[in-house]
C-alpha cells in the first residue's frame, strides 16, 4: 500500500517537472520579450514597417503580413491536396491503393524541412523565375512548398474526421439513390465539417511555425509583399536569420517576435479545440 503511494508521488513529480519545464519556455519567451514590447510600444511594434535593429527600430508588420500571406497560400495548396487525398482515401480508394497512398503521405511528413527547402530552391524557384517572372524567391514558392509540407497533417486529421462519420449516414444517402460523390459532398463532408476545420487550423499552425524551408525559398527581404511573386520574410525566418548575431534590444525584439508567434498558435489551437469539442458535443447529443 505504501509502495503505491510512493509510485504515485514519483509519477506526479515527473509529470510536474515535465510540465513545468514546458511552462518555463512560455515564461522565458514572455519574460524576455515583454520589456521590449513595452519599450517600443505594442502598437508600434506590430504595425510599424521599419525593422532597423541597428537604429533600434523594431516594427514587424512586414513579417506579419508575410507570414499571413505565405500561410494563406499554403492553405490553398495544402487544403486542396490534403482534403482531396483524405476524401479519396476514405470514400473512393480501393484498399490496394490505400496501402500505397497512406504510407506515401506519412512519408511526406517525415522528410526534413531543409530537404523541402532545397528542392524548392533548386527546382521550383528557377521555374517561377523563368515562367512567371520576379526573382523566383517569392510568396508563391513558399506557399507551394509549405502547402506540401502541411498536407500530411491536414490529411491525417481529416481522415480521422471522415472515418468518424457514422455509416448509417452514408447508407441512408445511398439508399435514397445518391451517387458516391453526391453522398460525399452533401452528407459526409458536412458531417465531418468541424473535424476538417480542426485539421485546417492545425495545418495553419504548422505553416505559421515552419522556418527552414521558408528561409530557403522566400527571399527574406523586408518589404511588404504585394504580388505573389514578391520576395517575403516571415516571423519565423526573422528570428532564425538574426538570432545568431543579435544582442541586447535586438535579441529581445526577436523574443518579442516569438511572443507574437506564441499568441497566434494559442489562438489557432483554441479555435481548433472548440471546433472539435463542438463535434464531440454533437456526437454525444445524438
Amino acid at each position: 500500500m505504501k509502495s503505491e503511494k510512493i509510485i504515485r508521488g514519483l509519477l506526479i513529480g515527473v509529470a510536474l517537472t515535465a510540465l513545468s519545464g514546458l511552462g518555463l519556455i512560455a515564461a522565458f519567451v514572455f519574460k524576455e520579450g515583454i520589456p521590449l514590447m513595452a519599450k517600443v510600444g505594442l502598437g508600434k511594434f506590430i504595425f510599424s514597417s521599419d525593422w532597423y535593429p541597428a537604429e533600434h527600430e523594431f516594427g514587424i508588420f512586414p513579417m506579419i503580413v508575410g507570414s499571413l500571406e505565405v500561410t494563406a497560400g499554403a492553405m490553398l495548396v495544402g487544403v486542396m491536396f490534403g482534403l482531396g487525398c483524405a476524401v479519396l482515401l476514405t470514400q473512393f480508394c480501393p484498399p490496394r491503393l490505400v496501402s500505397v497512398l497512406k504510407p506515401s503521405i506519412e512519408l511526406l511528413a517525415g522528410i526534413p524541412s531543409v530537404v523541402y527547402g532545397f528542392i524548392g530552391v533548386v527546382i521550383l524557384v528557377p521555374l517561377i523565375r523563368e515562367h512567371l517572372g520576379g526573382p523566383g524567391l517569392s510568396v508563391l514558392a513558399a506557399s507551394i512548398v509549405l502547402g506540401i509540407m502541411v498536407l500530411p497533417t491536414i490529411t491525417s486529421i481529416s481522415v480521422d474526421a471522415l472515418q468518424a462519420v457514422p455509416r448509417s449516414y452514408v447508407e441512408g444517402s445511398v439508399a435514397l439513390g445518391a451517387t458516391g460523390w453526391q453522398t460525399t459532398h452533401m452528407v459526409v463532408l458536412k458531417a465531418a465539417r468541424s473535424g476538417i476545420v480542426a485539421a485546417v487550423i492545425l495545418g495553419m499552425g504548422r505553416a505559421v511555425g515552419e522556418t527552414m524551408a521558408v528561409i530557403m525559398v522566400a527571399g527574406n527581404t523586408l518589404e511588404i509583399p504585394i504580388s505573389p511573386l514578391d520576395p517575403v520574410r516571415t516571423l519565423t525566418s526573422n528570428i532564425a536569420l538574426e538570432m545568431g548575431y543579435a544582442s541586447g534590444d535586438h535579441r529581445q525584439a526577436l523574443f518579442a517576435t516569438g511572443i507574437v508567434l506564441f499568441v497566434i498558435i494559442m489562438v489557432l489551437n483554441t479555435i481548433a479545440l472548440t471546433a472539435s469539442r463542438r463535434r464531440a458535443g454533437r456526437a454525444r447529443a445524438r
Binding site: 487525398c85 517525415g110 522528410i111 526534413p112 523541402y116 498536407l151 460523390w181
Partner: protein, 279 residues
Amino acid sequence: MRLLPRTTQRLAVGFMWILAAVTVGVLVFIIGYILFHGLPHVTWAFLTESPRSMGREGGVLPMIVGTLLVAGLAVLIAAPVGVATAICLTEYTREGRLTAIIRFGADCLAGIPSIIFGLFGFVFFVMTLGLGFSILSGALTLALMVLPTIIRTSEEAIRAVPPAYRDVSFGLGSTRWQMVTRVVLRSALPGICTGVVLSVGRSISETAAVMLTAGSALTFPRSVFESSRTLALHFYILSREGISMPNAYATASVLILAILGINLAAYWLMRRFVAKVVV
C-alpha cells in the same frame, strides 16, 4: 448546362485522383532526385571520414555521430518522462479542470514552432546554464520539443485500452501500478511506440532548434559537452553556402535513407506487435 450526377462524380473523383497522383509524384520525385544526385557520392569513405576544408571534401562521420547522439539522447530523455506523465494524467489523477488545462497546454506546446524552442534552448541551456553550444544543449532542447507529442500520443494510446480491463485486473488482486504496467501499457505499447518513432524522426530532421543549441562544429565530438553538427544542419550549410553540391546531395541522401529506414522499421515493428496483442 447541368451535368448528370454520374458525370459530376467522374469529374470530382478524377480530379481527386490527379491530386493524389501529384502528391505521390512529388514524394517520389523528391526522394528520387536527392538519391539520384547523392547516392553515387555516398561511399564508404564518405560515411567514415571526417570533413575537410569546411566540408568540400571528406565525409560526414562526425555529423552521423552528432545526429545520433543529439536525437538519441533527446528521445532517451523525453520518452520515459513523457510516458510517465501520460500515465500520471490518465491513471493516477482524476479527470477534471486541471487535466483539461494540462492537456490544452501540451497540445499548444506541440504546435509551437521549433525556432522558439531553439530560442529558449539558446538562452537557457547554452547561456544561462552555461552548457555552451553542445550536444547536451541540443538534446535537452529537442527533448522538450518532442515531449508534448509523446505525452499526447501516449495518452491517446492509454485511453484506447478498454476500461473493463482495469476492472478485471483489480478484481484479480492487482495494485494500480501492476495494472498499469502489466495490462494497460502492454496493450498501449504500439501506440506509444508510434509516438516515440515519430519523435525520433522529428529529432533527426530538426535544424532550426539544433542550429541555435548544438552549434555547427565540424569536429568529431568526443563528449556530449562538445558542439557538433547534425546531418540536416550540415546539408543546410553546404547547400546554402554552395560549398559542395555533390556532398550536399550525399548528405541529404544519408538523411533520407535514415528516415526511410526508421519509418520502415517502425512499420514492421508495429505489424509484429499488433499481431501479438490483439485488443
